[in-house]
Amino acid sequence: MGLLETGGADAPPVSRIDPDALDPDSAEWLGALGGTDSERQATLVRLHAMLLRIARHEVHRRSSHLRVTGPELDDVAHQAAADAMVAITAKIGQFRGESRFTTWAYKFVIFEVSTKLGRHFWRNPTVAMDAEDWDRLPDRFGLEPTRASESRDLVAALGRAVDEVLTVRQRQIFVALVLNGIPLDALVAELDTNRNAIYKMLFDARRKLRAALVASGYLDAETQRYP
């Protein structure tokens, strides 16, 4: 069976892009995935092994700032690889050859690692969703104790702006992410939403808070570029 055709009755749809438009490695992957049943099965086994290797590497790469270790990390890697396989086989028809096939496939397992680590946060959370301790703010932004008076003024001004200009939902997101330090992907899991929705709310909150602090004279209005 050729590259541009599908496999057996339960085989995933294979990308319909021109194999000549692909790099040789990607063309080989798609050819094998669209090949005979035995060839396809062997290729799926090979792909899963690669995804598991990537997932293990990724959870260990992130482990320095996680409270997950050893067997739990390996469980996350196995789950991520398994779910990435499901996503890849379901979406392989969407591969358009804009990148190498393996890069496209690895993206799924990296996303699954993020999602699973976000959920994992709530197994042993270090902070409650409804906590609200403004005393943490100076540490979050490295405000110097030697300038305690200025820091207190700024924190108080930020607190007023949070109360006055943010919506209830924006306030909830700001407190969870900034004050409580809850990882964004953990918040996504807790609120059963998606990363983009949370980011957009925080983006709007940041913009409104900065405008309020500029208006009250605490921050400079001019655009500043940081290294």
Binding site: L158, N194, N196, R206, R210
Partner: protein, 73 residues
């Protein structure tokens, strides 16, 4: 750099920032460009702006780049 720089930096938003959804949609393309030494940020400035501001997406970028054997941008 004054005492408030970190807070100011956090609150500043880039209007070119495309958000998580659009950035992650093309992350594999972006990563291949970076890994190949091609100026991905020039081709996708909105993605670059997003990766500079979004910790989780930046982490995914670093992970995917590491997976394909590239170096950090």
């Amino acid at each position: 750099m004054n005492d408030w720089t970190a807070l100011d930096r956090f609150l500043r938003t880039d209007p070119h920032d495309v958000g998580c959804e659009q950035a992650m949609e093309v992350l594999h393309v972006y990563v291949d460009l970076v890994a190949a030494g091609i100026a991905a940020a020039e081709r996708y400035p909105g993605v670059a702006a997003h990766l500079a501001a979004c910790g989780p997406c930046s982490e995914d970028f670093a992970g995917l780049l590491a997976a394909v054997g590239g170096s950090s941008h």
